[in-house]
């Protein structure tokens, strides 16, 4: 059964990829919407990262956009200074992910001993510090542009790149959470004291979850930088962290399927409303979507998926 579900999922994914690719090439899908599709994929990767941190490991982070930004600036700096072909995107994305992961490791060691709300405040503070650093980055590296923004980043991100990253992130997170190491992270979320008592090094697994999640944010940031070719510190402030948090909670904590669906729905809805709504009430867009959020939370407090998964994302039940 699972095998068939897996094939169907693969076919659907390949179909979606081809449809967007072909309609994008032929101009049926205008470049604006192609960009939105790519942005939805980027939000998916970033959301999956936060889901590993908050949904699976249970560590409340409000600084996700900071790591997204670190990845974006790192990747953009590399491609901009190297000034070579499109293949540079791969090392740049990896460098962005590694940089975000490294910073997460260093900042995680002192702050991950805090619990829930306190960790939230600490990550929030870290996010603000990073934003200020971006604002003043031109003092150290003029290329980064500081508060005027970073321009002239090559447009390397394509639908194929985004699609591959989404598939890679989904598989990575799925394989991780259904492994012994992932279970160790989940046990930290469930009961830290009991985890220690059965021999789980909770500090180590909190750090692992945090670093993995932040690396995914860094990867997403790299894609973002090479999609819009312009970076501004405003794009990495607290509100952007909140967007990702909303996606993860809306989709369901601890659900890969939920994050994917919520990230796509959230991005497309936000842009879709822009098209559908008449101009005079366009500004109400930002009222409609929080309202939607409230309604969903009332009807499905555990998120759209509530910890469940599409069947192809679940490992087979043995015996």
């Amino acid at each position: 059964m699972r095998l068939r579900a897996g094939w169907i999922a693969l076919l659907c994914a390949a179909g979606l990829y081809l449809i967007v690719l072909i309609t994008g090439r032929t101009g049926l899908l205008n470049p604006y919407w192609l960009q939105i599709f790519q942005f939805a994929g980027i939000m998916t990767v970033s959301g999956l990262g936060l889901n590993v941190i908050y949904g699976y490991t249970g560590q409340f982070s409000l600084g996700h956009a900071a790591f997204y930004g670190i990845g974006a600036y790192t990747a953009a700096f590399i491609t901009k200074s190297a000034a070579t072909g499109g293949w540079m995107l791969l090392p740049a994305l990896l460098a962005g992910a590694v940089a975000a992961g490294l910073v997460a490791f260093l900042i995680g060691m002192p702050i991950l001993r805090l619990r829930s709300d306190y960790l939230g405040i600490a990550t929030l503070g870290f996010g603000i510090i990073v934003k200020v650093l971006f604002d003043n980055s031109d003092a150290v590296l003029p290329t980064l542009g500081g508060s005027r923004g970073m321009t002239g980043i090559p447009h390397f991100t394509s639908w194929t790149w985004v699609f591959l990253c989404v598939i890679g992130a989904v598989l990575l997170v799925r394989n991780f959470v259904y492994s012994s190491h992932g279970r160790a992270c989940i046990s930290v979320r469930e009961d830290e004291i009991a985890s220690e008592a059965i021999g789980i090094n909770t500090t180590q697994y909190k750090t692992l979850g945090f670093v993995l999640g932040c690396s995914l944010a860094g990867l997403a940031g790299g894609l973002y930088a090479h999609l819009y070719t312009f970076l501004h510190p405003m794009n990495f402030d607290f509100l952007k962290s909140l967007d990702v948090l909303l996606i993860v909670v809306l989709g369901g904590l601890g659900s890969i399927s939920g994050t994917v669906v919520a990230a796509c729905a959230w991005t497309l809805l936000l842009e879709g409303l822009r098209v559908v709504l008449p101009t005079e009430i366009l500004d109400w867009r930002l009222v409609i979507y929080p309202l939607l959020l409230i309604v969903v939370m009332l009807l499905r407090p555990k998120g759209l998926f509530g910890g469940n998964e599409f069947r192809f994302l679940k490992p087979e039940e043995r015996r």
């Binding site: 394989n175 492994s179 012994s180 220690e196 059965i198 021999g199 789980i200 015996r319």
Partner: protein, 273 residues
Amino acid sequence: MSALLEIRDLTKDFGGLRAVAAFHLELRPGELVGLIGPNGAGKTTVFNLITGMISPTVGEIRLAGENLVGYPPHRITHRGIARTFQNIRLFNDLSVLDNVRIAYHPYAGYRLIEGVLRLPRFHRREREIVEQAHELLGIFGLSDRAPELARNLPYGDQRRLEIVRALAARPKLLLLDEPAAGMNAGEIQKLMELIHFIRDRFKLTLLLIEHQMRFVMSICERLAVMDFGEIIAEGTCREIQNDPKVIEAYLGKGVHTGGSGATPAAPPPEGRR
């Protein structure tokens, strides 16, 4: 035979309160010892000290001669001590199988990268872990419940699942904090048989806290009695039953015939403090 667990001069102060005072205890390999005492005597604090959940103010704890003081709980578990909790601490939103599988993590035997890339060793080890977990659950009659969420198990099963999970951590010494709490007479009888069985099967040394005297008296080979953080008596069940200090701790001072008559009636054993 040399002691498996050696505790000397163990003292723990919480601010001005001395919860455990100059506690001492020795467990020989294979022993089944009960730690009893009125509520608030400091029994669970002793468990928390042994397992490293809290660190002692002063004192020495050694397992097979190796110092345990100052190590984090997971390291102490790796050395060979597992425990259950008075208020059951299962991973409620995970399946029964996952509860046990998580405890196998230190023995998972594959690296993170092998798990993420789904290399052959991952599949082989995961299969073995599931088999072992089922075997262990089978001993406790929980194998059929493997896919259910832990929170949906009846109370007695939850207590037993917690013991299964502790056993999966492969302890030499198992600490049980009120394993029979909330069980009926039939369940207690089964639990006693199980404890004897797992002791022989897994070559365990057991230390248990329990309030049900009939259970303690019929299962433990030796008892240590605590009151106000101190050991007040130690010995076989028969010796303990007749120890005047123990009777005093549980029942209060006896009313002397012909005395002043001012001594209040003995409070019930559990409600002294």
